[in-house]
């Protein structure tokens, strides 16, 4: 017992000593089966995954638009407007759960959601598999990689693997974390300091700068009362657990590439980073941030934009 206490104390001190910055850089490389990733990409871009062959995953997660559709709410089949803002697919593999309300534990599990959602792809596994099986090229590719051929499990795995390959290392801020002190300007460093001082870091931390815990939207000042017009999507995790505690509780989103993934929040209500910082400061931290400091935080956030396949995202 005593030993355990002693070990606890020492371990905690060590942790303190070793992990100095609360944010850690994204690994530069990842070991994924390239054939499966290629297959995943085909599926990700294939409109046959939707009921009327109009929508692919890539429709709302466009790599040229920061892995999102840059809309407040996404547009699904039959031009239906969805209920929620599409989160970026970039770095989604590093999130601890998927969806704004965290209802899927893994990317594999996540694939199921949009395919079946009536306002998104409005399809069904049986329909999807039937369509894919008519394509000789798919039959061949699946057979080569999966002995059982085209199956739900394998489609999920291939897409998830492709999504895992969509990570964005080497942001200027990551270069700074790796020891290149010239990678960011002194103003940007100031912004980072303010980011920590104001307490943004309390939730936006770790490798993905978020994406590893749930938090209520409106910790200190109620957001939804002020915005009004509360929808099902606003309830957050409540819709998953049914617990009052989880009302308005969301997965804290990653801030990586945040510069290019506007509009912000699950409802896409903030159009600019400045607006988003304002809302966060008031509702989550109960504070107002002076104009020039806000400016510094925003320019810090812009250093988080990473590269995909060696090219800086735009």
């Amino acid at each position: 017992m005593l030993f355990r206490v002693l070990i606890c104390i020492i371990l905690s001190l060590m942790q303190n000593v070793c992990a100095k910055e609360p944010i850690t850089p994204i690994p530069l490389t990842m070991d994924l089966n390239p054939d499966k990733v290629a297959l995943g990409q085909l599926l990700f871009e294939d409109k046959r995954l939707s009921h009327d062959n109009t929508i692919a995953c890539v429709s709302c997660h466009d790599l040229a638009k920061g892995g999102t559709d840059q809309l407040s709410h996404s547009i699904g089949i039959n031009d239906t407007e969805g209920d929620i803002n599409a989160p970026t697919v970039f770095n989604s593999g590093f999130n601890f759960r998927q969806f704004w309300n965290g209802r899927a534990a893994t990317l594999e599990e996540q694939v199921h959601g949009p395919i079946h959602h009536p306002k998104e792809m409005g399809s069904h596994w049986i329909e999807v598999i039937n369509k894919l099986k008519k394509d000789q090229a798919y039959l061949k590719k699946f057979k080569a990689l999966y002995p059982q051929g085209i199956q739900i499990q394998n489609i999920k795995e291939a897409i998830a693997l492709y999504e895992r390959s969509l990570f964005t290392p080497n942001a200027r801020f990551d270069q700074y974390l790796r020891g290149n002190h010239k990678a960011i300007s002194s103003d940007e460093k100031k912004g980072y300091t303010l980011f920590k001082q104001y307490g943004c870091i309390a939730c936006h931390q770790g490798m993905n700068i978020g994406g590893n815990l749930y938090q209520v939207f409106g910790v200190l000042n109620n957001y939804f009362e002020q915005r009004g017009n509360i929808t099902q999507a606003d309830l957050g995790r409540f819709t998953v657990t049914g617990k009052e505690y989880d009302r308005y509780r969301f997965k804290v989103p990653s801030l990586r590439n945040v510069e290019i993934t506007a509009p912000y929040f699950h409802d896409g209500s903030a159009k600019t980073l400045k607006e988003a910082v304002d809302i966060m400061a008031f509702h989550q931290l109960g504070r107002t941030i002076p104009e020039h400091e806000k400016q510094l935080i925003v320019i810090f956030l812009k250093t988080l934009t990473g590269t995909y396949q060696g090219v800086l995202l735009k």
Binding site: L2, L11, Q15, T24, F96, G206, L213, Y214, R287
Partner: protein, 576 residues
């Protein structure tokens, strides 16, 4: 006709033999071991996980990545467990185990929900606690806030104390209201800053008890016991399986015997006409013999491996614990000594500066007396000097404070040295060690256990240095001291005696506690034997101590009288 009958009997006998043989082969030890080790992994992972929670609470973990990763590893491990074909390994009787497993999974899921809650709440609470002092200083920086100083400071210290200690909240509530009342008539910017302070204070008021409650739930929901129960269940199932095969084994023997008689009988009756059959029977008989031999041999090996496995698992866990402790201490000592270095140096420097300054002031004081009031600022200077004389009292206090600070640093340094001596990573190999040093380190580390309850009486003799691994021997000492403390219910004393006897050094640790009952005494060195409640002790301490001493060529003995006390005698050879 007779021939057909004989054929049928032979075939049936062979089938029965194969059946019995297979029944004795039921037990799958390898798979069983994998199941048990998976459970062990789960237990360890959970310990790691809870550790991470505690670090986050103490603001020592600055992100939640590690916690999230641990959960993912836990889930993978759960999956591995699900993938075992438990029915094949343990037979059909696993309903109870499955029930326990479901209960475990339900509990850990629940625990995880609380941990998710913890992460959310902890983020909010730690942010408010961290920001609070800044908020206060931001308020004080505004103009016309002097009147508020007292109230604000009272609130600040109350809130900071509250954030760490379980104290009453009504007082803080009052302080908040008070501050808001006083500030009600001030300027807009002061009012809004006060409101910010009040809202953060309320956040801390709201979330500190909340997080305590969550942590308590997390603690209550510990699944270690459930895993232990499951381990026992699986081990019992495995034992049952071993037992199950025993009757078949006996049946196999009886049946072989009967078969033999039958064969002899038939052979006797038909020895001439059925020589061919006789030969076949002979072969069958030899086959039976080897079969039986293999069965016995196998059972013996199985139970032996099982014993060994239990033993090595226990030792592995222990040695890993010690190794990681040593490494942690190494890093820790370095990291503490660095700041300690400059703090000590700086205080010494300030001491010198302080005394120089005092000296200069003294000179100054002597000089100033001679300056007439009207020349330059003579009068003003004299007043200042008078003021300084009034401060003289504080002057010497300043020196005292610096001395105290140095004394405190020395104490910290000694603690670090002791911690290092205790684990002694640099002495991983066996070397000559002063046992008194080890005893003193262990006493210091166990100091908080004694409190006012126990007096320590050291009767150290003149003993030579002993060849041993200090970290292990210290562990034995600490263990025995802890046991002694736990044996003493109210007040008591522990006597530590060292002396040489023949070619051995003896260390006696004697308490006047409740003693050990006679019937229990022979069992106390057995692994997993404990008299403590579940969760309080592992029951491994004494058996590990025993093992450590055996490895050192030494011994540990116990004498005890119920109601009077217990004496443990550790002996280590002095020779090389």
């Amino acid at each position: 006709m007779n021939k057909i009958f004989t054929n049928i009997v032979t075939v049936l006998s062979v089938i029965l033999l194969i059946f019995l043989y297979q029944k004795t082969q039921l037990v799958d030890t390898e798979q069983h071991n994998q199941v048990i080790s998976t459970l062990g992994t789960l237990k360890q992972l959970e310990a790691v996980w809870i550790n991470q929670v505690l670090h986050s609470r103490l603001a020592l973990n600055n992100n939640y990545d590690a916690m999230a990763d641990t959960w993912i590893t836990l889930e993978t491990t759960h999956q591995r467990w699900q993938d075992f074909q438990l029915k094949r390994i343990y037979g059909e009787n696993i309903a109870h185990a499955e029930y326990q497993k479901t209960a475990y999974l339900a509990q850990i899921t629940k625990r995880r929900e609380y941990i998710e809650q913890f992460k959310s709440v902890n983020a909010i609470l730690s942010n408010s606690v961290r920001y609070f002092p800044t908020a206060v200083s931001e308020l004080m920086r505004l103009e016309d806030t002097k009147l508020l100083v007292g109230d604000v400071n009272a609130l600040l210290s109350a809130v900071l104390r509250y954030s760490l200690l379980p104290e009453k909240e009504t007082q803080i509530q009052k302080l908040i209201d008070n501050l808001q009342e006083k500030g009600a008539l001030s300027e807009q910017d002061i009012r809004s800053q006060i409101n910010i302070i009040a809202s953060h204070a309320r956040t801390i008021l709201k979330y500190r008890p909340y997080i305590d409650a969550i942590l308590e739930q997390i603690n209550i929901l510990s699944t270690a016991q459930k895993i232990d129960l499951l381990t026992t269940t699986y081990v019992n199932l495995q034992d049952a399986r071993l037992n199950e095969s025993t009757p078949y084994h006996q049946m196999l023997m009886v049946f072989s015997g009967l078969l033999l008689l039958l064969i002899l009988f038939i052979a006797y009756r038909l020895r001439v006409s059925y020589t061919a059959l006789n030969r076949a029977n002979q072969q069958l008989k030899t086959a039976n013999d080897t079969l039986e031999q293999r069965v016995t041999e196998r059972t013996r090996i199985l139970s032996h491996t099982l014993e060994q496995l239990k033993d090595s698992q226990m030792q592995l866990v222990q040695s890993e614990k010690m190794a990681s402790l040593g490494q942690m201490v190494a890093g820790l000592v370095h990291e503490i000594n660095t700041p300690l270095g400059y703090v000590k140096s700086n205080i010494q420097l300030i001491q010198t500066i302080f005394s120089n300054l005092k000296h200069v002031l003294q000179e100054y004081r002597a000089l100033i007396v001679n300056i007439p009031d009207h020349i330059s600022n003579g009068k003003k200077l004299k007043t200042q000097i008078e003021e300084f004389d009034e401060l003289k009292e504080d002057d010497s206090t300043g020196e005292e404070l610096l001395k105290d600070a140095l004394y405190g640093l020395k104490q910290i340094f000694e603690l670090v040295i002791n911690l290092k001596n205790f684990s002694r990573l640099d002495l991983s190999n066996i070397s000559k060690v002063d046992l008194h040093e080890g005893l003193n380190s262990s006493l210091l580390i166990a100091k908080h256990l004694f409190k006012n309850k126990i007096t320590i009486n050291k009767q150290y003799g003149d003993i030579p240095k002993v060849k041993c691994a200090p970290s292990q021997i210290n562990q034995v000492f600490l263990n025995l001291l802890t046991n002694a403390v736990q044996a003493i219910e109210n007040k008591g004393s522990i006597i530590i005696t060292t002396r040489v006897k023949n070619d051995h050094v003896l260390v006696l640790i004697q308490d006047n506690g409740k003693g050990i009952p006679k019937k229990v005494l022979p069992k106390i060195f057995d692994p997993f034997f404990t008299t403590k409640d579940i969760g309080e002790g592992t029951g491994m301490g004494l058996s590990i101590s025993y093992k450590i001493l055996q490895e050192h060529g030494g011994n540990i003995e116990v004498t005890s009288q119920e109601g009077k006390g217990t004496t443990f005698t550790v002996s280590l050879p002095t020779g090389i």
